[in-house]
């Protein structure tokens, strides 16, 4: 009986802890937004972080994009061939990438490549008292460390997603046109006529901006909130990857439901 009561009390306690952590995370996020002045006034700080989270993620993004596109080309051709409509392969590859796979897969890769690095870096800065030292030097770490990284993530994410989609389409072209021999003219012209700028491309960009906000905010918060010990930081890094991956997939469903419901 007491075990049952204890477990119920445990659920209650964890729920309360979860809610208070959520509140803390929200306050952290709002304060990062309010202290963003430095990130723009001294844009060099943000550019530096764009290099670390964006440019250094390029390799994994480009290589993955190429392979995803090549797989799409193979799989798409297999299916379309059954209906004798290989010429729409370009449309299939482009729409899959621009609407879904580009933003989502790029964000998942970004979370594991850049998000985990951000969490580990901030967590270690906290563990080695660098953030406390900054505070004692009358420099707000939220403005100086957190905000530039946040905006760097938000700026990098859509660019990475666009590059992912572009190399993906090139991969689809390599497999579909160069390897299998789908007609090149119809591959590109069908793609041009069927992919809509606003409905497809712009919605994809909006998605990746939202994912960029979510991943970077989660990564920064987990780092800032990490217990200042070795296992604290490693646990926080893991949580960043898990939480932001789930957040990306959940947000993707919600966004897709709103964006593409009424489109014929």
């Amino acid at each position: 009986m007491s075990a049952l009561i204890n477990s119920i009390a445990g659920i209650g306690r964890r729920t309360l802890e979860g809610i208070s952590r959520m509140g803390y995370a929200t306050r952290f996020f709002v304060s990062a937004l309010l202290h963003s002045g430095t990130a723009f006034r001294r844009f060099g700080l943000t550019i530096r972080e764009i290099y670390f989270s964006g440019v250094l993620s390029l390799i994994i993004i480009l290589v993955s994009g190429l392979f995803v596109g090549m797989v799409l080309g193979l799989q798409g051709y297999e299916t379309l061939e059954t209906y004798g409509s290989e010429e729409v392969l370009g449309v299939l590859v482009a729409l899959s990438l621009v609407r879904e796979l580009g933003p989502v897969v790029a964000a998942l890769l970004f979370a594991s490549r850049a998000g985990s690095a951000i969490t580990a870096e901030i967590g270690l800065m906290k563990a080695t008292e660098q953030l406390a030292a900054m505070e004692m030097m009358a420099v707000d770490p939220i403005a100086r460390v957190v905000a530039p990284r946040f905006w760097a993530g938000v700026i990098s994410m859509p660019l990475l997603a666009a590059l992912f989609s572009a190399t993906g389409i090139f991969g689809g072209y390599l497999v579909g046109v160069v390897l299998i021999g789908v007609d090149e003219g119809s591959f590109w012209s069908q793609m041009q006529s069927k992919v809509d700028f606003q409905d497809d491309i712009l919605n994809g960009v909006i998605k990746s901006v939202v994912f960029g906000i979510a991943v970077t905010a989660i990564a920064l918060f987990e780092g800032y909130d990490a217990p200042p010990t070795a296992e604290g930081v490693s646990g926080a890094t893991t949580r960043t990857v898990v939480t932001s991956s789930l957040a990306i997939l959940a947000l993707d469903f919600v966004l897709t439901a709103f964006m593409f419901r009424g489109i014929s």
Binding site: L124, M125, T128, E129, Q130, A132, A133, M134, E135, M136, M137, A138, V139, D140, R144
Partner: protein
């Protein structure tokens, strides 16, 4: 001589645990004072209270006549520009070179031209004997060197107060002497006031003007190094001579040994 730091009746606790219980402490301008006590007695907490990073549950803390506990964020930041703090392991920014670490506050808080910053930084590094290490990264420094760079960084804006959190921890005897001498020399030449938190009795008694002993959250004893050496208070005697047992017991509180071994029941 007036008092730069005045702490009156300050109490502080983490949750249920009372760390400090009614501390009174003053630091006069130009003095080096030491706060000593065994590990975990709340020495570092005291420094964080003076820096306004945490607020006491009770009491007042005045720095240069300003009540730290009631300052608004920007006023506190204004005050902190006149404080330097040396963290236990230096807390250098690992992504910046030694030069950039020392230049950090100059870049953040002043509009000085680049060549002036360059000269100022090299002067500070020269004062700690590390002008030649300006281009190294923190990962390339030994523990003692990192501590000295952090000291150069702490005095970059010519503060009126510098606080040192365990500046002697983990240093070899040479670095220990160097660091101790630097603290004394910089305090005298720059007209600083220094508060050193430490448990290194021998090294700190050589350089300080006044000592406070903290134990169990209260000031157990205070005095000049000469008074401390002459003190016959049991706690001070145990601490200064490093005796394993005494007022600070060797054994963590427990049931009786017999009861734990289930003897004689």
């Amino acid at each position: 001589m007036d008092n730069l730091v005045e702490i009156e009746n300050v109490s502080f606790g983490y949750g249920e645990r009372q760390v400090l219980k009614g501390i009174n402490l003053t630091a006069r301008r130009g003095q080096v004072i030491a706060i000593m006590g065994n590990s975990g007695c709340g020495k570092t907490t005291l420094l964080r209270l003076i820096g306004g990073q945490i607020k006491p549950s009770h009491g007042t803390i005045k720095v240069a006549g300003l009540e730290v506990t009631t300052l608004k964020q920007h006023e506190l930041y204004q005050l902190r520009r006149k404080m330097g703090m040396l963290f236990q392991f230096g807390a250098l920014f690992t992504d910046m070179s030694v030069f950039e670490n020392v230049a950090f506050q100059l870049r953040e808080h002043t509009q000085l031209p680049e060549d002036v910053i360059h000269d100022l930084v090299l002067m500070k590094l020269h004062a700690v004997g590390l002008r030649g290490a300006a281009d190294l990264m923190p990962s390339e420094l030994s523990g003692g060197m990192a501590r000295r760079v952090a000291l150069a960084r702490a005095i970059a804006l010519e503060p009126m107060l510098v606080m040192y959190d365990e500046p002697f921890a983990g240093l070899d005897p040479i670095s220990l002497g160097v660091t101790g001498n630097l603290i004394r020399k910089l305090t005298d030449t720059l007209g600083l006031t220094s508060i050193v938190v430490t448990h290194d009795v021998q090294e700190s008694l050589k350089i300080v003007d006044y000592v406070y002993f903290v134990s169990e959250g209260v000031i157990e004893a205070e005095g000049t190094p000469a008074q401390i050496h002459a003190s016959d208070l049991p706690f001070v005697h145990q601490f200064v001579h490093g005796e394993p047992d005494g007022p600070v017991p060797f054994h963590y509180p427990a049931r009786t040994y017999e009861a734990d071994l289930r003897l004689g029941a």
